[in-house]
């Protein structure tokens, strides 16, 4: 059986670094919003990339997915991502179509 005490060998300092990284990325997002140099679609893309990086940091370090067995890690990631990909395939082409047609 997986032992909690041996699974999380990361030091306390590592968690503080991860937290500092997350705060920094949030600061970058807020700065982008204040500057407003990007168009909405490009802004959405950039913010989504930053959010995915933050989500990865939280999942891997704070939720300790990094310490789990590879088969559990990949099963979770692949199954959730597959569902999101299906949503993406159904929703966004139609959103783009509406953009091209213009809102009536």
């Amino acid at each position: 059986m997986h032992d909690v005490s041996t699974a999380h060998a990361e030091s306390k300092m590592l968690y503080f670094w991860v937290w500092a990284g997350l705060i920094f990325l949030t600061g970058v997002e807020v700065m982008l919003a204040y500057e407003q140099v990007l168009q909405p679609v490009r802004m959405l893309e950039v913010l989504l990339v930053l959010s995915v990086v933050k989500a990865a940091l939280i999942t891997l370090y704070f939720m300790h997915l990094k310490s789990e067995l590879a088969r559990m890690r990949w099963l979770l990631i692949v199954s959730v991502m597959a569902c999101f990909a299906l949503m993406w395939i159904f929703f966004f082409p139609d959103a783009e179509r509406i953009l091209r047609l213009g809102v009536q």
Binding site: M1, Y15, T26, P40, L47, F62, D94, L99
Partner: protein, 250 residues
């Protein structure tokens, strides 16, 4: 009547396929399903946002500063939560409780700031069924309140969950007291006058769990509750940019 003793031979159970305990696998499965709920809400919001060039930008400098502090609260709560898990691994009970209480404090601060933001928006005429931009974007209020309300509900459930793990039965009178104070303090017309009953429902559910299955929560329980809390934090990492930063007017 004779009692039949079932001797359990060693190695009768196969080791877990995923190399961990079942409670944790159960929580991961729940989180995977819950991520799809939030995924659908976020996709719906983003879909509307991109498809509608006239999308309103009601979040001014003050709102963004407020939402940034809320984000910092949630990120800090994740740090204190992971420190609680570390304390649980050491078997350090006083620090498990301290870090869990710190996590609950940050979570409560987030909820209060969020409630203030909601109250301000409602004062400006934005409610789930209508909003000041209803002529061009009727769905703004509905999508905003559904998404952020669902998240606020998860944070509230998380605070109750951590309270039960940290304080067990001692948490029940605190929770009931908070419900009563919140109910009496909010104006009858406020949405929070009804919403505060989540605490009462939470107290009933927590009482059923605590009285039917009293136990000392161990390191596994702290770790599993931590998974739930970090997930709530993770979801906000998408809501904050998509909802607030994409609708900013500085």
């Amino acid at each position: 009547m004779a009692t039949v003793q079932h001797a359990v031979p060693p190695d009768v159970y196969e080791p877990s396929l995923f190399g961990t305990y079942s409670k944790k696998i159960g929580m991961w499965l729940f989180l995977a399903s819950d991520s799809l709920t939030f995924g659908a809400l976020l996709f719906a919001y983003s879909y509307n946002r991109i498809a509608n060039p006239a999308w309103p930008t009601p979040f001014h400098k003050e709102s963004i500063a407020n939402a940034t502090v809320m984000t910092a609260c949630l990120l800090s709560s994740s740090l204190t939560m992971v420190l609680a898990v570390l304390a649980a691994n050491r078997g350090d009970k006083p620090w498990i409780r301290n870090w869990l209480l710190a996590t609950m404090f940050f979570g409560a601060a987030f909820t209060v700031l969020h409630a203030m933001e909601w109250t301000k928006l409602m004062g400006e005429g934005m409610v789930p069924s209508s909003n000041p931009w209803a002529a061009t974007v009727p769905q703004f209020g509905g999508t905003f309140f559904t998404l952020t309300g669902m998240h606020m509900l998860h944070v509230t459930i998380g605070i109750i969950y951590l309270g039960v793990v940290a304080l067990r039965k001692k948490f029940l009178p605190i929770l009931l007291g908070l419900w009563l104070v919140g109910w009496l303090a909010t104006p009858a017309k406020s949405v929070f006058h009804i919403g505060i009953h989540v605490l009462l429902i939470g107290a009933v559910v927590a009482a059923v769990v605590l009285f039917l299955k009293p136990k000392d929560y161990d390191a596994h329980d702290v770790e599993v509750s931590g998974l739930y809390w970090h997930f709530v934090d993770l979801v906000w990492m998408f809501i904050f940019p998509l909802v607030y930063l994409m609708s900013t007017k500085v």
